[in-house]
């Protein structure tokens, strides 16, 4: 199959087309959108095209991977990049280019598929929205930013798209802030600002780290950065220099902000103020994935010390967010905290030294989390924008398709075997065991990470099944009005911003407005697609002529490994091959043990969690209340998300504002005073100067003028303004001249 072979002549054009189609659609939509009857067709079709191209390229990549080829396409080297701020001398040489490696291939496919599904879903979900067209335009540009980020071959352009994504998340989370009828209006404004400002902290860190690396390595290109890092470390005697740890941690700061790691996770739960499709995009494919993707790109730059910090932060996030997920009643909030928790898994995996596992989890998570969010959206849509799980229940019968989709994705996220999440989570835990069991590489951080992840995995299974049981099993509680508005306000800790709206302004489904119903096809079809991918995304064996031959080789592991990601040279430097028969045997033994332990652990924790949820929220519904009573003040602490928002408000925002006021005072009193003083001094000097000017300079000039006038008044006696008089003079003069010439 020739078309599944890489063709260097045309591939870069196809790859360029993938991000350019959405941005072109954006431009058309913004400038000419009013000419289109419907606001969605253009961009959805564009996204579909983009997805098809990305999938074609993905198929090529997969084909190459199964054939055992290592591929790494860099436009700068292969096709010639786009020179930007290029100088012939070394210095700031910026060449924008495309970087297509296995990770990029996977991400490109995931992003386009999820984005297309979200587009399709939005045509149903956002129906009737007053800024429908703008919504589609923004979501396309959002996708463009992520695609550009994935394809960037250097840190600077990655940063540019990173910032563009920040802007788009701001616009999309705040989507409802322009909708006067929306109950989310105030909250959306607030949440969008919060997301923007919070991620900005991380972005500044990333910028600082980026510039530190550029200062030392004089490049932004990933491949050059990696080899420069290898050379530097080798020159330093195998030890990472201290500045690399610092710079790596700064870069990781970007990930903390973007991927909602502790303590900058606070923006993500609030991001659900935006429309549900936006949440799906942010949680699955774009925003938070960007942070993890950044880690994947910069992994070779991270020193062991930095990686330990990363492990600790990731594990803490995973565990901490999972506990919050236990107590939340809001359907989307549970999913939001589960995202934070899963992101913690990914970050921990990178910290534990298994980039493959982290990226794998990111990919599978993208599918099932997108499906979960869209299902939640479907549920919310079906329940007329009700989000409280206490007001749901029994929806299994009423929304069968949504239920099935959500259920299989819950199985996936809970880590049930044969579902994609199991494979990726299992790989992360296995990475942890490898580090813990290996005496050479043991560290406390790794042990902490392993334990935290195991607990978090159990909690994940628990709260996810809690969600399923609350939402889909039991009796429908939507008509129990006493639950409405109760307990919701403290749910988000800032009830003032939440006004749960009861509007059915686009209730075109007919019938009883309060009876949940299945969503229309353009909502369920993306669900089914994503559910399919959520189930099987972990162990695809497509692109191979013989499916059975490769059934035990998950595509991701085949495609993405450290050697395919960073090249053999760099990966060899990162984890040197063991030498000697003994060492090799030891390694095999270690792997075997780790594998068994990991499978055992993940199975145990998953089943434990599922069983707990079944017990507490299906079988014995009285237990949760008793538990709450038993733990005492612990429950409000967790339910209020450990008061992090309050802490941030008190210890970060208020001091910042105080500082600002102080600076303002300095500016007004001191700086302005100096400036005004200089101005007064100038005025005084100018007065003196003006006096001099008026007396002497003007006197001179006027004197010349008067002199000229005096002469002019004499000359004007013959300047009568009569043309004919001049003519007579001329004639008389010429006659005299001629007479003189002749007579002389």
């Amino acid at each position: 199959m020739d078309f599944l072979q890489f063709n260097p002549e045309t591939d870069y054009k196809l790859l360029l087309a993938v991000p350019l189609i959405p941005v072109l659609g954006y431009v058309l939509q913004i400038f000419f959108g009013k000419q289109l009857k419907r606001g969605d067709i253009l961009l959805t079709a564009g996204m579909f095209t983009s997805m098809c191209i990305a999938l074609l390229m993905f198929a090529k990549a997969l084909n190459a991977a199964y054939a055992g080829e290592v591929f790494l396409h860099e436009s700068v080297k292969e096709w010639g990049g786009w020179g930007w701020l290029y100088q012939s001398e070394p210095g700031v040489n910026l060449v924008a280019g495309i970087f297509y490696d296995p990770l990029g291939a996977a991400m490109l496919a995931v992003v386009t598929v999820v984005s297309f599904c979200v587009h399709l879903f939005s045509t149903g979900y956002m129906h009737g929205d007053c800024r429908y067209r703008i919504f589609f335009a923004n979501i396309s540009l959002f996708t463009f930013a992520m695609l550009g980020l994935v394809l960037s071959d250097n840190l600077l352009f990655l940063f540019i798209f990173w910032e563009l994504m920040g802007l788009m998340s701001y616009l999309l989370i705040g989507h409802f802030s322009h909708d006067a009828k929306s109950g989310f209006r105030g909250w959306a404004t607030w949440a969008s600002q919060k997301a923007f400002m919070t991620t900005r902290v991380g972005d500044v860190c990333l910028l600082v780290g980026m510039l530190m690396f550029h200062q030392h390595f004089e490049t932004f290109q990933f491949t050059e950065l990696w080899s420069a890092a290898a050379e530097t470390v080798a020159a330093n005697g195998g030890q990472y220099p201290a500045w690399m740890t610092v710079a790596g941690l700064f870069v990781f700061g970007g990930t903390i902000g973007k991927s909602a790691q502790f303590p900058l996770h606070i923006w993500l739960p609030d991001a659900m103020a935006g429309p549900t499709p936006v949440s799906a995009m942010i949680h699955a494919a774009t925003m938070v994935a960007a942070g993890v993707f950044l880690l994947g790109r910069t992994y070779p730059l991270m020193s062991p010390m930095a990686l330990e910090v990363i492990t600790v932060v990731g594990a803490t996030t995973a565990l901490f967010a999972a506990t919050i997920g236990l107590t939340s009643w809001d359907l989307k909030a549970v999913l939001a905290y589960s995202t934070i928790s899963q992101l913690g898994f990914m970050v921990t995996a990178v910290g534990l030294g298994s980039v493959t596992a982290g990226m794998f989890h990111m990919t599978t998570h993208a599918f099932f989390k997108a499906c979960l969010f869209l299902s939640a959206g479907s549920v919310i849509h079906g329940c007329h924008h009700e989000q409280d799980m206490r007001l749901m229940g029994g929806l299994r019968k009423k929304m069968p398709i949504t239920f099935i989709c959500m259920f299989v994705c819950t199985l996936a996220i809970a880590g049930i075997p044969l579902f994609s999440g199991f494979y990726s989570k299992d790989k992360i835990i296995m990475a942890g065991f490898e580090r813990v069991l290996d005496h050479d590489h043991f560290s406390g951080a790794a042990l902490y990470g392993l334990v935290a992840l195991a607990i978090a995995a159990a909690l994940t299974a628990f709260y996810m099944f809690r969600l399923i049981f609350l939402t889909f099993f039991g009796e429908y509680r939507g008509d129990q009005q006493e639950h409405r508005y109760s307990g919701m306000l403290d749910e988000h800790g800032r009830g003032g911003h939440i006004v749960y709206h009861d509007h059915d302004d686009h209730d075109d489904h007919g019938g009883n407005a309060h009876v949940p119903h299945e969503s229309p096809k353009n909502i369920t079809i993306p669900l089914m697609v994503l559910a399919f991918l959520g189930v099987f995304g972990g162990h695809f064996w497509l692109a191979s002529s013989d499916p059975l031959a490769n059934h035990s080789k998950p595509w991701f592991a085949t495609m993405v490994s450290e050697s395919t990601l960073y090249g053999d040279e760099i990966s060899g430097w990162l984890s040197p091959e063991p030498h000697g028969h003994e060492a090799l045997e030891h390694l095999e033994h270690l792997e075997h043990t780790a594998h068994l332990s990991a499978v055992g652990t993940s199975l145990t924790v998953a089943l434990l969690g599922v069983f707990g949820a079944w017990l507490l929220y299906y079988r014995r519904r009285d237990i949760p209340a008793k538990v709450v009573a038993a733990v005492g003040p612990l429950y409000p602490l967790v339910a209020n998300k450990y008061y992090i928002d309050e802490l941030v408000t008190r210890y970060v925002i208020r001091p910042t504002l105080a500082l600002c006021r102080a600076l303002k005072w300095v500016d007004e009193k001191v700086v302005d005073g100096v400036v005004l003083g200089v101005g007064r001094l100038n005025r005084t000097a100018a007065t003196v100067h003006a006096w001099f000017d008026g007396m002497f300079v003007d006197g001179l000039v006027n004197g010349v003028g008067h002199l000229t006038q005096a002469f002019g008044s004499i000359v004007r006696l013959i300047q009568t303004g009569r043309i004919q008089q001049y003519l007579s003079f001329a004639v008389a003069g010429s006659i005299l001249l001629a007479a003189w010439l002749i007579l002389s």
């Binding site: 004639v731 006659i735 001629a738 007479a739 002749i742």
Partner: protein, 200 residues
């Protein structure tokens, strides 16, 4: 007709008859032709000065132009003669008539002493100087002149050959273009008015 005009035109007629007679006497048929064209030229000019109506003056100018064209013919410059008729009569005179008709017809005064004095003084001086110049160099006499031929082709070649007049020719083209553009620019109506109070 006012008495002064009668006297004036009688004098002009007498002078014309004298000139005709002198021409016929001195040179026969060519002399008559010359005298006719000279009378046309000068008579038109005199009438132009004399007539009170500017329109009549303009029309009398046509006689001058035609007379000059005739003189050109006698001098063997046929191309020039026709260009004279085409440009002066068909173009410039039409433009002047246009100007006459676009301007007010209220200026009919003429200063007789100034006309006559100017004519007498300047005429005496100029004729004397002209004769003096022509006498100061030895010129070919009318009988020695080469036969007259048409010079249109010669003039055309002269215009285009780089050794001769191509630069002045191109300059003249540029001048004409500039003049026409300038004329259009100047003549277009614009909003400025030096005496706004008089508009009321």
């Amino acid at each position: 007709m006012e008495p002064a005009s009668r006297v004036f035109y009688t004098l002009v007629t007498l002078a014309s008859l004298l000139a005709l007679g002198w021409g016929a006497f001195s040179a026969g048929a060519p002399g008559v032709s010359f005298a006719l064209f000279a009378i046309l030229t000068l008579g038109g000019g005199l009438m132009c000065i004399w007539e009170r109506s500017v329109v009549r003056s303009a029309f009398s100018l046509m006689a001058t132009f035609l007379g000059v064209a005739g003189l050109f013919l006698l001098l063997g410059a046929d191309f020039l003669a026709m260009a004279q008729v085409l440009i002066y009569v068909g173009g410039i005179l039409a433009l002047i008539l246009f100007g006459v008709m676009l301007s007010p017809p209220d200026l009919n005064e003429r200063s007789l002493p100034r006309v006559l004095g100017g004519l007498a003084f300047a005429g005496g001086a100029a004729i004397w100087l002209g004769l003096r110049i022509s006498a100061s160099v030895t010129w070919a006499t009318a009988e020695e002149l080469p036969p007259m031929t048409s010079h249109a082709e010669e003039i055309g070649v002269g215009f285009l050959s780089p050794e001769q007049y191509v630069v002045p020719f191109e300059l003249a083209a540029v001048l004409l273009t500039v003049a026409l553009v300038a004329a259009v620019y100047i003549a277009r109506r614009r909003s400025i008015d030096l005496f706004p109070e008089e508009d009321a």
